[in-house]
């Protein structure tokens, strides 16, 4: 609690907002609670703020009650019946494998782990004296019994059930869509004795037409790694179309003559529970075949998120690690048709689609397409800079983003032909780059296109003309007392609103820029490109700061009563891209809230409000907080 004592140590000073709420909730420590109580007894100011907080709570609870009554939710009775059935099913399947988990494979595995842990694998165990062997076996027996009991307690899923659940979960997510396409982004790491290669891999699988497209998104020699991996999957009965799936894992597992398996419970980053299935092939394994595989499944949704394959190879083993970085199920209608477009016209004509092609394509080697042009993050920054120079990053719907197919797409709708020409000429330096696709339409063109597709007209993003009617605006009293004529007041109100909107456009541009790249991408960005990105950020922060402080100065004239004099504080300089992103997000929140307050104060509304937020101290604090933040972003290094 931020209560401060006076020098003489008497009654503590005023309570902060969060202290008041904590006090009401009885969440302060006993001592703090007592201090706060004493202070509240003596201080009218804090007591009335306490009452405000209390009534806010009541208002919120009332609205919550009115809008989402428990009675409005589906009734409990049927839901409980459903739950009872679901639980019974769940329980039955859980019991089925509790017994199974005591199988022989587990015991043998436990034994082998035990001997390993004693580093007996280096010694010739069988050559040891009998007494030692007997002692070891006895000891092992005890450990195994303990292990079996322990593992029974920790896991309740058998390997086959784990795989079954994972593929059921996947099937359920596919059923919800008419033409499901599974889109997985994977990180593939290949580790051999002395080298390690990591590549980004994207897999699109069209379940209905059972076809799949795969792209290498990052990493040199990525195509080679992915090609090798596909061969490994092929050789081990796995499904190269869906490299990280329970189904694929199951195919290999079922083909094994003899195996050892164990399941352990682990925690993932972010606190998710996960089950790790480890399957070890028993017996001799040829080169190129999997000796051991591991599948990590997230318990919450039974989604496989990681797979490790240890491959036997000449001169040491190779390990492939596949980690899911993102995954979604989308409808085929929403997938860019170019993804499934045949890359080579000649091969497509020689392989006509037949009803039987399902099997064929499944077993055929996947086509690994490495599109020659891949746009880099640096190129993306350059395009953003060009758009900024043309002033096309404010309000207009022009976006530049790298897509999964590796291309950088610049798309947008602008008002006029002249504007279109202007933007196109600004983009001239990159337009011939094979990795860049530019698609700028005028509103008229976009409308015509939408009409052809029978859709609604796109929203135009031009600045709205602000019309302030002579009717009552919320801040009418203040305006009247300051301005001689209504006309002057009206103009002032209109100016405030459009100024606030101008400021907001810089905030939107700021946020778009800061969200353009992921944290990893920003870290990996070349220093020159990062400097460019930062300078774009800084220029919008500067523009916002100008608008915002101009706005505040003008508002102060009218609301001198509540406006607090705010000395320009200088915050700590920002020197980390991640921090820039955070600061921008916070500034966006602050700025949007301020914009709403201004809109409410200066636009006419049918409901007459007696008190407006613009007169509160909180609003003025928020205004200056936004300015401080903007100036910090403006000087970010």
């Amino acid at each position: 609690m931020k209560t401060k004592h006076n020098n003489d140590g008497a009654v503590p000073r005023h309570l902060e907002d969060d202290d008041l709420v904590s006090y009401l909730d009885g969440e302060l420590s006993r001592e703090e609670q007592e201090q706060a109580r004493l202070h509240l007894e003596s201080c009218w100011g804090c007591r009335s703020l306490l009452n405000v907080a209390q009534s806010s709570i009541e208002n919120f609870m009332r609205l919550r009650q009115e809008t989402l009554l428990p009675g409005d939710l589906p009734p409990s009775g049927p839901a409980i019946d459903v739950f009872r059935r679901r639980l019974a099913e769940h329980n039955a399947s859980a019991q089925g494998q509790a017994r199974f988990s005591l199988d022989f494979a587990r015991v043998r595995l436990a034994l082998s782990r035990f001997t390993q842990s004693l580093q007996f694998e280096r010694l010739a165990f069988t050559d040891s004296p009998f007494a030692i062997r007997a002692a070891v076996f006895l000891f092992a027996g005890v450990i195994i019994a303990a292990l079996a009991i322990y593992s029974n307690r920790v896991t309740t899923v058998s390997a086959s059930e784990l795989l079954q659940r994972a593929s059921d979960a996947q099937a359920a997510s596919l059923r919800s869509m008419a033409e499901p396409v599974v889109h997985q982004k994977l990180q593939v790491r290949r580790r051999a004795l002395r080298n390690e290669v990591s590549v980004g891999w994207e897999v699109w699988t069209d379940m209905k037409n059972s076809r799949s497209r795969q792209f290498v998104t990052e990493g040199e020699s990525g195509a080679g790694v992915v090609h090798d991996l596909a061969q490994v999957l092929q050789a081990n009965h796995m499904d190269p179309q869906r490299p990280l799936s329970a189904a694929s894992y199951g195919l290999w597992r079922n083909a094994l003559a003899e195996k050892q398996e164990e399941i352990t419970r682990t925690k993932l980053l972010g606190g998710f529970d996960a089950l790790t299935l480890r399957t070890t092939a028993v017996g001799s394994v040829n080169a190129g075949q999997i000796t051991e595989a591991v599948l990590v499944v997230r318990v919450a949704d039974w989604r496989p998120i990681e797979q490790r394959l240890s491959i036997k190879a000449e001169g040491g083993g190779v390990i492939y690690e596949l980690t899911e970085t993102a995954s979604e199920v989308v409808s085929l209608a929403h997938v860019n048709p170019s993804i499934f477009a045949e890359p080579f016209a000649s091969t497509s004509s020689s392989q006509p689609e037949t009803p039987n092609s399902k099997l064929e394509t499944r077993n055929s080697k996947p086509e690994i397409v490495t599109p020659a042009p891949v746009a880099t993050a640096e190129l993306e920054v350059e395009v953003l800079r060009l758009l900024n120079q043309a002033g096309a990053d404010l309000g207009e719907q022009v976006s530049a983003k790298r897509h999964s197919d590796g291309l950088l797409r610049v798309e947008g709708i602008v008002e006029t032909e002249a504007r279109k020409a202007e933007i196109l000429s600004a983009l001239a330096p990159v337009r011939n780059d094979t990795a860049v696709r530019v698609d700028i339409k005028t509103v008229a063109e976009a409308l015509a296109e939408k009409r052809r597709q029978g859709r609604d007209a796109p929203r135009s993003a031009t600045e709205q003309k602000v019309e302030i009617e002579s009717g009552a605006v919320a801040a009418e009293a203040e305006l009247r007392s300051y301005f001689k004529s209504d006309e002057e007041a009206r103009q002032f109100a209109a100016r405030m609103v459009s100024r606030s909107q101008r400021a907001m456009r810089h905030l939107y541009a700021l946020r778009r820029l800061s969200n353009q790249f992921s944290a990893e991408e920003l870290r990996a960005l070349e220093s020159e490109a990062r400097a460019k990105w930062l300078s774009l950020i800084r220029s919008h922060a500067r523009a916002y700061l100008q608008e915002a402080s101009g706005l505040r100065r003008e508002l102060q004239l009218i609301f001198s009563a509540t406006a607090q004099s705010t000395g320009t504080q200088v915050g700590r300089a920002i020197d980390d891209p991640a921090e820039v992103v955070q600061a921008v997000e916070r500034l966006f929140e602050l700025g949007s809230a301020n914009d709403r307050v201004i809109l409410l104060a200066f636009t006419t509304s049918s409901e007459r409000s007696t008190v407006t937020a613009i007169k509160t101290g909180a609003f003025w604090q928020s205004l200056s907080a936004a300015e401080v933040l903007a100036s910090r972003i403006q000087s970010a290094q």
């Binding site: 902060e16 969440e27 919120f60 809008t67 989402l68 639980l87 920790v154 919450a300 809230a593 709403r596």
Partner: protein, 191 residues
């Protein structure tokens, strides 16, 4: 084992768990009983996050199945209610994120309008209208503030909320104070 917190409800369902430990009642029975008792409040919280009663109902049931697994394995859950809120919260966030990604393309095109998000998910008409009211009043809140407020309204302690949102209890009080302030300024303007 009692948790040290000022909030009195923390271990409200410890008795049920004790029943299992003592062998008075089976896990299945206790979990069903807890489901009947806690379903409504969990449901209304999840509903705010996912916006569909059907999805909310399913997520809540999944959370109780997970609770069943935990108890069946003999794992001790100190605060059943807090645990359930944490699980449904994570499930709902995960689900919402999946929906978000599906709409990402449209979001980019109409970044400045909020209409596109609802076009893709398509909840029932009357759900939307009802939701709109509270949504309007809360739209000025950011995610943390909103989650803190909703969880507090369900009667959770700061410590419980802090664990669910993975922030400190002190931050919870700050978010709550801010949320109430923003809500109130909205509310005042409407009445």
């Amino acid at each position: 084992m009692m948790q040290s917190s000022a909030f009195p409800l923390v271990n409200a369902f410890g008795i049920e768990i004790d029943d299992i430990r003592r062998g008075n009642r089976g896990v299945e029975e206790v979990v069903t009983d807890l489901y009947a008792k806690l379903r409504t409040s969990l449901l209304s919280y999840v509903y705010h996050l996912v916006g569909s009663t059907r999805d909310a109902e399913d997520l809540v049931q999944v959370a109780f199945l997970q609770l069943f697994d935990q108890l069946k394995q003999g794992n001790d859950i100190q605060n059943v209610r807090g645990w359930l809120y944490r699980v449904v919260h994570n499930l709902a966030i995960e689900q919402a994120r999946r929906h978000d990604r599906r709409g990402s393309l449209l979001h980019k095109w109409f970044a400045d309008s909020s209409a596109s998000a609802t076009e893709l998910v398509e909840p029932a008409e009357e759900d939307l209208i009802r939701r709109e009211q509270i949504e309007k009043a809360l739209e000025v809140l950011n995610e943390r503030e909103r989650h803190s407020l909703m969880l507090r309204a369900e009667g959770l302690s700061y410590q419980e909320i802090a664990e669910i949102l993975e922030i400190s209890a002190k931050s919870v009080s700050v978010y709550l104070a801010r949320a109430l302030k923003k809500f109130e300024s909205r509310h005042e303007n409407k009445t």
